[in-house]
């Protein structure tokens, strides 16, 4: 059932039926609404549209630019292969330095092993060969202590006396 709202309100008793709203509205508000809505719809707001860029361009610039660009790309195309730059030289120098440090470190750190190797080689050399070498090169003929002692013509008393004199006897060091 459709009932008129006013009838309904009147039916509520002494309630006043007013159509006007009690709120205040700024002066000229409705005069400006249209502009504000248009501005909101216009993406650039109140920024003026179609304003040109004010910069100057040298005369004939765009006529000559294509030829300049073609000349430039022609030069760029001719430069093929590796381009040696200061940066690449620096990287090469750094790599070389690291290599040299690494090689030097290897040399230094490897010495004990070399010394050990040399000692191993010597231990494998025949004693007779060493004696023969010393005979020929150094003039050392007899190495065996017993051979040397047998040639000394001295008794035990002489030996003791010698030892005392040199400080190796009982009263020595």
């Amino acid at each position: 059932m459709n009932r008129d709202i006013q009838d309904e309100l009147e039916g509520l008793g002494n309630l006043p039926v007013r159509r006007s709203m009690p709120y205040e509205v700024p002066a000229d508000y409705f005069l400006k609404v249209e502009d504000r809505v248009k501005a909101a719809m216009n993406e650039t707001g109140t920024v003026p549209q179609g304003v040109a860029t004010p910069y100057e361009v040298p005369a004939g610039y765009f006529e000559t630019l294509p030829a300049r660009i073609i000349a430039l790309v022609g030069e760029a195309s001719k430069r093929r292969g590796m381009v040696i730059t200061l940066r690449s030289i620096r990287w090469a120098a750094a790599a070389l330095l690291i290599l040299m440090i690494g090689a030097g470190s290897y040399q230094l750190l490897d010495r004990p092993q070399v010394a050990t190797q040399e000692a191993n080689w010597l231990s494998n050399v025949d004693e007779a060969a060493v004696e023969e070498y010393l005979d020929e090169e150094a003039g050392v003929t007899e190495l065996a202590p017993q051979d040397g002692l047998e040639k000394i013509d001295a008794g035990a008393e002489d030996i003791v006396s010698y030892l005392d004199e040199t400080g190796w006897g009982e009263n020595g060091y």
Partner: protein
């Protein structure tokens, strides 16, 4: 002087570029077709003609080197703008680093170049607008310029700047507010 490939669209130009004997003529056509748009896009960011010229040359050298391998996932137009934008932003970054520009010195950096331009007149709207735009951060300035001057659709701008459409709309909205405030401020 008209080139023999001027009638080709961008896709046909790229295909023809892959033929060695046609490369130079095709590239000349491409340069003539896009030089002004790219030049102004760069110039609005860097202000000085000679700087824009340097950057534009670098852009076209990169295009020359990359065009043969260009795959049409994006169209040529957005690809060119992307190279130009990246070269320009890199150049600006480098310039500010060398000039030891402080973080909050971006505005003065741009303003100084602007007032040095011949025929500069701070009372005319076109110079005032440039002053206002110069106060924006670099990336926001790119967004404003692409939308305001080039009227680039947001979808294309998204491919150029590799940013979402929503973010670009928000960025442009903020940029417009800042420009408005500056222009009203007098």
């Amino acid at each position: 002087m008209a080139g023999i490939y001027d009638h080709l669209d961008d896709t046909a130009l790229i295909m023809t570029f892959r033929k060695a004997e046609a490369r130079e003529a095709v590239f000349t056509t491409l340069v003539r077709r896009y030089q002004e748009r790219l030049y102004w896009h760069i110039r609005r960011m860097v202000v000085v003609h000679n700087d824009a010229d340097d950057i534009l040359q670098n852009v076209f050298v990169k295009v020359w080197k990359g065009l043969e391998g260009f795959r049409e996932e994006s169209n040529l137009y957005t690809w060119l703008y992307r190279i130009a934008t990246n070269e320009t932003l890199s150049w600006l970054e480098s310039q500010k680093r060398h000039a030891a520009v402080p973080v909050d010195g971006n505005e003065a950096f741009f303003e100084n170049k602007l007032v040095a331009q011949r025929d500069y007149d701070g009372n005319r709207i076109e110079w005032r607008l440039q002053q206002a735009i110069g106060k924006l951060p670099d990336k926001q300035r790119v967004v404003f310029n692409l939308r305001y001057y080039d009227e680039m659709p947001y979808e294309d701008m998204s491919r150029v700047l590799e940013t979402s459409v929503g973010a670009l709309k928000a960025s442009y909205h903020h940029a417009v507010k800042k420009v408005e405030e500056f222009l009203k401020g007098g």
